[in-house]
């Protein structure tokens, strides 16, 4: 699956904001992201194939996931 992650969640040694990962079985978004070392997910919002979902949504290999920072106005 393809994951687009805002730079906000990338560490200094993680320079790729677009990542392709292979998942062998359906998994929750949070599990996939933790496996690739993405932290602070309590501050993120998730869009699966352009639709807003929560972190416990199950994803498959053909999905596209976008991870953006929470927005709060101002």
């Amino acid at each position: 699956m393809i994951i687009e992650i805002s730079d906000v969640f990338l560490k200094e040694n993680q320079d790729k904001s677009k990542i392709e990962v292979e998942i062998n079985e359906p998994k929750k978004i949070i599990e996939v992201l933790e496996e690739i070392g993405i932290e602070n997910l309590g501050y993120a919002i998730f869009y699966l194939n352009e639709i807003k979902v929560d972190k416990n949504t199950t994803v498959n290999n053909q999905d596209k996931l976008t991870v953006l920072p929470i927005v709060g106005g101002g």
Partner: protein
């Protein structure tokens, strides 16, 4: 001896030329903690229902708060107040930057400007030395040029300046006050009132500094925070992409105000996002006094057909929304130009953009024609029309004269049912946040004392589930997340608790982007900072009570001025469905909304019409 504030307010009467000092007691400072509270304290007995906001009877305040000037970050706020020409009620507008801390360093907690000068003047403050200087040679000039002249004639490039441009001189209702060219007291018509007093600028140089009770503790917290915030998502997002960091997610969520709030999604959202700005026109990341977050943008465009001067900073999210998606414009160069023009002319970018967006819709619906637009093809997306109308509004010329009054008045003039999509509350144009997807924001627009305002409370999208965002505010008594699209009693209480905290931050002169929940500094640490500054023993409970006092005080003034519940109507468009995006077909439910608003009144101890009950006023010492 006071710590963290001086206890002195400068008082200037422009009618008589008298300059004096108003002493501020510790009791009152502890009660109000600055900002909006101090404006209430002085305004309540100064104006009445019949006071013309442009008359010499209407005072204009430049206030700071207890936090202003502490060298930690976010401590930059200057809070202006007056009887607003837009709402005819309690007027407040805040700004970051450097003016507030400079005023405190000069030994003043605030300035009260009374009366009206016969000829243009500016106020020059260097510590205790205060002069009213002639500004005849500055009248008619833009903020950029005047900024240079005042610094030059006082031989001091370090002067901090609050200014009005031609918009304020001409009393465009939503003219604003621009601070050091990059920061704005944007809302409620502060620039128009300043212009009515013929006060072109306030120039400040402070060399005295601020006395803190425990300077070592402040240094320790400041150093800790500068390091701590760096990798925290809330701060990092603001640093990397500014306040426009959320454009794409708002668009994907269907809550990016587009084409006068008809739509919730803009096909060119990516092109006007904070990310695109960082990749294209961003020259540097700027900031306010002592702030390590650096959320401000400085942009530069140097093309043959369009140039944008970096001395005016760069567009915030509000400007990107109001001049961009609202006007159907997906060109960041043009939006940056619109921002530069508004800062030079002294116009609030939100009200200016919403007014032009409104006119574009009226044109597309044939409510106005080329006769009214003087030949201008005023369709959404017309970049030249946007820039021309900004200038015309500042000069009150042609269609710009009507739009200079704001969309409420303009809809009364245009007719044709346009009041249904005149996006305003209490006469003030809506900011760039969509209530159909954030019901709490809609409540805020409705009940805010200053008209539609997005800075009254944390937005619905922040605390939607268990997790670190909710954990960060539990100390304030906020223990449950809320669904952004929910109504009801729980939602009203959720909003009210958040509003008390933000109300407190607004009073104390603190940027909402530093303490939790919007910022990364834990609330307990922030309160420790205030106590280190003052030597007091402030608690979260006291903060919430101060916030509540400010909210109820502002409401009391408004009702006394005749701005009551009948002024809390949301625009009819919000009860109609969004026409595109993820929330296509979604509208607000008016009955549920009104019911929620009355739960909100109940929470604050106000009666069924929203007026504070006697026991509430007594409890809060009002």
């Amino acid at each position: 001896m006071t710590y963290g504030y001086s206890g002195k307010i400068l008082k200037v009467d422009l009618s008589t030329g008298e300059i004096g000092i108003e002493n501020l007691s510790e009791e009152n400072m502890r009660k109000y903690m600055g900002g909006k509270g101090l404006v209430y304290h002085y305004l309540k007995d100064s104006v009445n229902k019949n006071t013309d906001p442009y008359s010499e009877e209407n005072p204009l305040y430049f206030m700071t708060g207890l936090a202003t000037g502490i060298p930690t970050g976010g401590t930059s706020r200057m809070i202006m107040g007056t009887k607003s020409p837009i709402t005819q009620g309690f007027g407040i507008s805040e700004s970051g930057g450097f003016v507030g801390p400079e005023l405190k360093k000069a030994g003043w907690d605030g300035i009260i400007v009374e009366g009206k000068s016969e000829k243009p003047v500016y106020l020059y403050i260097k510590d205790d030395k205060v002069q009213i200087k002639d500004a005849s040679h500055l009248w008619g000039k833009g903020n950029g040029e005047v900024n240079d002249i005042i610094k030059e004639e006082n031989k001091d490039k370090g002067i901090k300046l609050s200014q009005i441009g031609q918009g304020g001189e001409n009393q465009v209702h939503y003219a604003c006050v621009i601070n050091d060219l990059k920061h704005a007291c944007g809302r409620n018509g502060m620039g128009a009132v300043m212009g009515s007093k013929k006060l072109k600028a306030v120039a400040i140089k402070g060399t005295k500094g601020i006395k803190f009770k425990d300077k070592d503790k402040i240094t320790e917290i400041s150093k800790w925070y500068a390091k701590y915030q760096k990798d925290k998502p809330l701060s990092k997002g603001l640093y990397l992409y500014g306040t426009a960091a959320g454009v794409e997610s708002l668009d994907k969520s269907g809550i990016l105000p587009t084409r006068n709030f008809k739509d919730g999604s803009f096909e060119k959202a990516k092109e006007i996002s904070g990310q695109t700005m960082a990749d294209t026109i961003l020259a540097e990341r700027g900031g306010c006094f002592a702030c390590p977050v650096r959320c401000k943008r400085v942009v530069e465009v140097n093309k043959e057909d369009i140039k944008v001067d970096p001395k005016f900073g760069g567009p915030e999210y509000e400007t990107i929304g109001s001049m961009g998606s609202m006007c159907g414009i997906g060109n960041l160069d043009v939006i940056a130009k619109a921002h530069e023009m508004c800062n030079d002319l002294g116009l609030d970018t939100i009200s200016t953009g919403v007014s032009i967006s409104f006119a574009m819709e009226c044109y597309e619906r044939d409510i106005i024609t080329k006769k009214e637009t003087e030949g201008l093809e005023l369709n959404f997306g017309n970049e030249e029309a946007l820039l021309k109308l900004i200038k015309d509004i500042s000069e009150k010329k042609g269609l710009g004269k009507i739009l200079s009054k704001g969309v409420k008045k303009a809809s009364e003039i245009f007719g044709g049912g346009s009041e249904e999509f005149a996006m305003q509350v209490k006469g003030q144009e809506l900011p760039m946040h969509e209530p159909r997807g954030k019901i709490g924001v809609g409540l805020g627009y409705s009940v805010s004392p200053t008209g539609a305002d997005h800075m009254q409370a944390a937005h619905d999208t922040m605390i939607t589930e268990e997790g670190p965002m909710l954990d960060s505010v539990k100390t304030l008594g906020i223990t449950k997340p809320a669904d952004p699209k929910a109504y009801g009693k729980d939602k009203a209480e959720f909003y009210a608790l958040n509003e008390k905290w933000w109300g407190f931050l607004n009073m104390i002169g603190m940027c909402d982007f530093i303490p939790a929940p919007r910022g990364s500094m834990p609330i307990d640490k922030f309160i420790e900072l205030i106590n280190a500054s003052t030597g007091w023993d402030v608690t979260p409970e006291e903060c919430m009570e101060v916030g509540e006092r400010g909210i109820t005080a502002a409401r009391k003034v408004n009702y006394d001025l005749g701005v009551d519940e009948s002024y809390e109507e949301l625009p009819k468009r919000l009860y109609q469905p969004l026409e595109n995006g993820a929330l296509e077909g979604v509208s607000m439910d008016r009955d549920k909304f009104i019911e929620m608003k009355h739960y909100y009144y109940e929470h604050f101890g106000w009666d069924e019409k929203g007026y504070p009950k006697e026991e509430t006023l007594q409890r809060l010492g009002l």
